[in-house]
């Protein structure tokens, strides 16, 4: 059965912030972002369970990564320049501080960390990784640059007591 789409994403949905928020601008409090994310996650989990919730958040992050690449980033041919641009944009947008621990693009292996992460930094210990949205986002950003699909798994997270979120990335 074909799904009739009602909420298909397009960058237009970000809206004209200058016109729409002439006084408040494009800033908001991080609590609001997290309020929305974790209430949404809560409700989705209630409807579909934790595994499906993680999958939905990964896919949403992946879609966000593709759109971010398409609408925000400038084309780069060289990995270092691409990473440099991404680092600057993630800081500019207040998403997090991206650092590279290892990058062997020929083997398709990267270890990256995101400090002061938008989703999780400052959360209480939960004893499980929580940044599935980031996993999807990073996966899409790597795939858009290399043209190869990447598996991205968070191996350390603020929520597991670590001070930074570390992601292992492998090309498929």
């Amino acid at each position: 059965m074909d799904l009739v789409r009602k909420y298909k994403f397009s960058w237009d949905l970000i809206g004209d912030l200058k016109e729409g928020r002439p006084n408040l601008g494009n800033k908001t409090r991080l609590e609001v972002y997290r309020l929305m994310q974790f209430t949404l996650r809560d409700v989705i989990e209630q409807h579909f369970g934790p595994e499906e919730t993680d999958k939905i958040f990964f896919d949403a992050g992946f879609l966000a990564g593709k759109e971010f690449y398409k609408n925000v980033m400038k084309p780069e041919k060289e990995l270092n320049a691409y990473i440099r641009q991404l680092q600057e944009l993630l800081i500019e947008f207040g998403i997090g501080i991206l650092r590279i621990e290892k990058a062997d693009i020929e083997k398709g292996e990267l270890i990256v960390t995101v400090s002061e992460d938008l989703d999780c930094s400052g959360l209480p210990d939960l004893e499980h990784e929580i940044c599935t949205y980031d996993e999807g986002l990073i996966s899409a950003l790597l795939e858009c640059f290399t043209g190869v699909k990447f598996t991205v798994k968070e191996i350390d997270c603020w929520c597991t007591g670590d001070r930074t979120c570390r992601f292992a990335c492998f090309s498929q």
Binding site: N80, I97, R99, G161, R166
Partner: protein, 367 residues
């Protein structure tokens, strides 16, 4: 109480002693949670030691604030290592963010490196361009150009050497090889002397002949110039040689032509003088014939009538007058005779700018 002291001592040993057991003391293992606490602290200790020794790939197993902080430090160090490698590969866009003074120091270092490398690159580019220009000039100029060190060893010798000397450049190791090996036997000693003189005077500017292996001879003009450092000491020498064989040949031909022209000019001058003399002589001859022809008859009449007068008039009264008249007539006849026999026209000054024909006996052949 004694057990409490052992717990404290065991944990203190973990923190302070160089060698600490990986396992807690046996008598304390029965305390609930102590085994796990001891091993966590021991692992934390091991991770600190690894990091302090620069081992960044050791896996830090454990959770919580201290482990998290250590992982954060490990992550930052790994990232800095990765960035430093990128910088070493020439990517000076790398920047360290949010690491306090270290960020400032690293970013300033990267910026300065970028500037220095940029200057070096610019210098290298200019040097390469300069070398390319030099190479193009040296390899395309007809003159032979070389550089040698102060000991005389050839550093550079332009390809045109082979064309002029007709031997391979690889055979030439020193300036002496270059200048003396094929110097013509008539010039070799003077070249040797000039080379010796160059050591003192720093001047070598000489033309000499070289004999090629096919026995043909060429003439070359060679000039040596010393290259000095800032202290004025000679560190290298630059030499330039030009094949002037054709020029010398042209010069010789030109000199021959000049000599021939000089000779021809002298001949022409002589011929011209002869023509003039001949014309003068012809004119004189014509004048002489005319004079003789026109004057001899009146003179004969004069002489005849003088004889008649001498017979009729008193000799005693007029004899001296008749004698003078006869002498004048004879002198005119003599002049007419000289003019008839003159060999060449020789002028002698009469008065002022006016000349007269020399009819002396030496010029007329009359005695």
């Amino acid at each position: 109480m004694a057990e409490d002291n052992k717990v404290v001592q065991a944990l203190m040993d973990l923190l302070s002693k160089k060698n600490a057991s990986a396992e807690p003391p046996k008598e304390l293992r029965s305390i609930q949670g102590f085994d796990e606490l001891y091993k966590s602290i021991h692992h934390l200790r091991g991770s600190f030691i690894s990091l302090s020794r620069g081992k960044l790939d050791e896996k830090i197993v454990g959770q919580g604030f201290l482990f998290g902080t250590l992982k954060d430090l490990q992550s930052s160090l790994k990232h800095l290592t990765w960035q430093t490698k990128r910088v070493s590969e020439g990517d000076f866009t790398q920047k360290v963010e949010f690491l306090g003074e270290f960020s400032d120091a690293f970013n300033e270092m990267a910026l300065k490196l970028e500037i220095q490398v940029s200057i070096l690159e610019q210098t290298r580019k200019q040097l390469a361009e300069s070398e390319e220009n030099f190479r193009q000039i040296a390899e395309n100029m007809e003159e032979v150009f070389w550089l040698n060190d102060k000991e005389g060893n050839i550093i550079y010798l332009s390809p045109s050497f082979t064309e002029v000397w007709n031997i391979d450049r690889s055979e030439i190791k020193t300036v002496d090889d270059l200048l003396l090996m094929q110097a013509h036997e008539s010039d070799i000693e003077s070249v040797r002397v000039a080379l010796e003189g160059f050591k003192k005077t720093k001047v070598f500017n000489k033309e000499f002949k070289i004999k090629l292996r096919d026995n043909s001879v060429k003439t070359v003009a060679v000039r040596l110039n010393p290259i000095c450092n800032q202290d004025g000491n000679v560190i290298k020498q630059a030499g330039i040689a030009q094949d002037i064989t054709e020029i010398v040949n042209y010069q010789n031909k030109l000199i021959q032509s000049l000599i021939q022209a000089e000779n021809a000019r002298d001949k022409l001058k002589n011929s011209h003088a002869k023509i003039i003399e001949l014309e003068q002589r012809n004119a004189l001859l014509a004048m002489s014939v005319t004079a003789n022809h026109e004057m001899n008859q009146p003179l004969t009449i004069l002489k005849g009538n003088l004889e008649l007068l001498r017979e009729k008039l008193d000799e005693q009264a007029y004899g001296r007058i008749f004698d003078r008249l006869e002498t004048a007539i004879e002198k005119i006849e003599s002049i007419l005779n000289k003019l008839k026999n003159i060999d060449r026209v020789k002028l002698t000054n009469y008065v002022g700018d006016i000349n007269m024909i020399d009819i002396s006996e030496e010029n007329t052949g009359n005695t």
